[in-house]
Amino acid sequence: MKEIKIKKGVRLPLFCQYNDGNIENITPKSVGITTEDYKLFKPKLLADDNGKITPFDFLLQDKKNEDLKLNILANGTFKGVTRGEKRKILSACVEVEENNFEFNFKADKNNIIKTLLESGLFSAFRQRPFDMLPDPKNLPDVIFVNAMDTRPLAYNANSVISLIKDEFIEGLKIINNIAKSKVFVCVDKKFELNISETEKLNIVKFLGNHPAGLVGTHIHHLCPVNEKKSVWYIDFQEVAAIGKLFSKNILSAYRYIAVSDITNQKITVVKAPLGSNILEILNRDLDEDIRIISGNILYGRKVTKDEPFLGRYDYQITILNEMTERKFMEWALPGIDVFSVKNVFLSKIFGNKYVTFDTSMHGSIRPIIPVGSYEKVFPFDIEITHLLRYLSIGDTDMAQKLGCLELGEEDLALCTFVCPGKNDYSKLLRDVLDSIYHEAF
């Protein structure tokens, strides 16, 4: 088994007690699709308001590629969409009428892609470059299966894999049939499942701190992409769902989700259907002093009234305190409870194990000051400071030469986190990727 050690990155000093008691099954009253999860997807509405919806009805379709359709794995009533600027569809909501989120579905092993498209599970795949839904007509040479998670306060991926190991192994067989030449299953050092490697199926261990568990890191180290070469990638829970579909003919909407509550310092794992209303999972309302995130604190979508649904690719919900207090001359304080990757606060000197994070920017927006923070956390063979500078001026040519096509937004989340100028590089990357895509296609 190949091992790759990632030396750069960061382990945040966060504390949360892990509650590994009974895993609760969540039965939400509403589920939905958030279009922001699907990059470069131009949604066209297929359903009528207040119409009956089954898992086999599609709600949204991509205007550019009509093969790409999105459904909700629930029986209920379509309650319509919420729209943003220029009437862009933000989310689509279904009111659940039946508390069942597993359905019979006749899978055809001879026509895998067709089955995946009809079941809606095709949306589990994404493609690099552009981090978008792939074109089902062009099967990939390489597929990456991410079977690890180094995100802050994520669940232990190996514990979850042990719960779904049979489906996962079945799913890998299906994935193996889709990829033309290689399947890389990327795991952490505690991975225990005995899977025999073949020339096509490769298990690769990634060791190190976050972002060692991000698929962008895996792709960069094993099969970097460019404008001519793309790969697909998928999470292990989706592989297990595909395995269940093809081995048991059951289309399951259930996924294991880690609920990390930084305010109460605890993590619980729940089993919730795709697109569940997060406020219903948490059984609480939105509160001004608390931020609820679909995803993790380094990269996730803030839950709002208009977009309350669990992200399609999020297996984590995080609750974080909002910053409410202005501190007196914080720039001069020794910083006993402040974290930095640089040794500029006393918290580092005294080896503070845990630090309280909130939504404070810890400063105002300034130009890029390259003091070496990005290089500490970015494990790619890419000249990151210059890439960030080209992203900030929107120079698509140089950004492309420097490797922006290898990246997804989440890969730059740590650069955003450590930036002394408080810039948001994920957003800048998305803008540049969108520009490149629109210029090329």
């Binding site: 910053m323 001359m329 040794n343 810890h362 105002s364 300034r366």
Partner: protein, 401 residues
């Protein structure tokens, strides 16, 4: 704190768009965020942020500079008082002498208080005028560009007096700083976008525009017309240095106010390297560059050019090399930004410093010009490193599946 926050919230409406003092928003923002942390919450998809911001970066550099400032205050007064002990007909002139007399402070090099007081009379006027001039330009450009005032000028304004001789006229320093700040920084877009280090560029302007105030033997001691050469100038002209290496290392020699003490610079280097604000790569490769090139000249030797005979270790200790490398070369914006490029950039500074000092007959000191030249070369160095990276990655695509 709540009342203070409420006060600022109440006053803010006059400075925001449509308010009475809309144009002065950068001033309000500067004072507001100086006193209280701005109520800025994360907005994008990254919900937490590292505690380091530009204010903390600059505060760290200021902490690293403290020993140099203390030495500037003490040694400037000490050198002047020492000169007085040799020729007590000469005193400080103008307001400095008046203040010495008014407070009844004797010119006594053995008195720590006298040394600090006299040194302060040279350092603080320069520092205050630098703050006023630098602050005014920063404010002016912030108001015109409608952006917030950058904190970088606080460090520039502290670095600038430290690299000047004590006797430089305040107006000359102000003119040079104005030219240096406007042409060296603001025309390129301000903080974070400058090509050269603004403090060093200002010193270079002063050096070439007013050479009488910046070179020669009469500018280094703060007493009327007292002549004392710096060790490097002595070596260049006589082949001997009349100061002990210990004094040179500790900083009890004539020179630019904050540059004389290698020990103080080492403290600064420790702070900058430990905190990660300054690049150890630049510092290390600069030292290697200076030692390497000066060793070659030292081994070649020369009977006519005394600088060939200066040992490489002495090169490290005397002159402005230590200060320049620790505080100027490591300026993250004007230095090379690629990790690999930092090695080339630092080596260039060290090597050029040695070459200018030894081979160029006009300037016994070369650190300033070497760093400025390296500043200008840094984008080119980065260009080659980036091109190398792009080509390497292209090969990688071809080699993999």
């Amino acid at each position: 704190m709540k009342k203070l926050a409420e006060f600022f919230a109440k006053v803010e409406k006059h400075f925001v768009k449509g308010g009475k003092f809309e144009g002065l928003f950068p001033v309000f923002e500067m004072i507001d965020t100086f006193i209280l942390t701005p109520l800025n919450r994360t907005k994008g998809k990254t919900h937490i942020r590292d505690g380091l911001d530009l204010k903390r970066v600059m505060t760290t550099v200021v902490v690293a500079l403290i020993p140099c400032v203390i030495m500037a205050l003490y040694n400037t007064g000490y050198q002047a008082n020492l000169a007085y002990a040799l020729d007590n007909s000469k005193t400080a002139i103008g307001f400095r002498h008046t203040l010495m007399e008014f407070f009844n402070i004797p010119y006594d090099y053995k008195s720590i208080g006298s040394n600090f007081f006299l040194g302060s009379l040279y350092f603080f006027p320069l520092y205050i005028i630098t703050l006023i001039v630098g602050g005014t330009w920063e404010l002016l450009f912030a108001v015109v560009r409608k952006h917030e005032i950058g904190e970088a000028f606080l460090v520039t304004s502290l670095l600038y007096p430290l690299i000047l001789p004590p006797t430089v006229p305040l107006w000359e320093a102000s003119v040079a700083l104005s030219i240096g700040l406007v042409l060296g920084k603001e025309v390129f877009g301000g903080t974070g976008r400058n090509i050269v280090n603004p403090a060093l560029f200002s010193r270079a302007v002063l050096f070439f525009a007013y050479p009488a105030s910046m070179s020669g033997d009469k500018v280094w001691v703060g007493l009327d017309s007292i002549s004392k050469a710096t060790p490097l100038a002595e070596m260049a002209s006589t082949g001997n240095i009349s100061y002990s290496l210990t004094d040179a290392f500790l900083g009890f020699i004539p020179g630019s106010m904050g540059e004389t003490s290698t020990l103080a610079c080492l403290f600064g280097a420790f702070v900058l390297i430990y905190t990660g604000i300054g690049s150890w790569r630049i510092i290390l490769s600069s030292v290697i560059g200076l030692l390497g090139v000066s060793s070659v000249f030292y081994m070649i030797g020369s009977d006519t050019n005394y600088m060939f005979q200066l040992s490489p270790l002495t090169h490290l200790i005397i002159g402005g090399f230590a200060f320049g490398v620790v505080f100027m070369a490591t300026d993250p914006v004007s230095a090379s930004m690629t990790e690999k490029g930092k090695y080339y950039y630092g080596f260039l500074i060290g090597a050029l410093t040695a070459i200018i000092r030894i081979v160029n007959p006009a300037y016994p000191e070369g650190a300033m010009l070497a760093i400025l030249f390296a500043n200008i070369m840094a984008p080119l160095i980065d260009h080659f490193v980036i091109e190398g990276n792009i080509k390497r990655r292209e090969k990688k695509y071809a080699a993999r599946i």
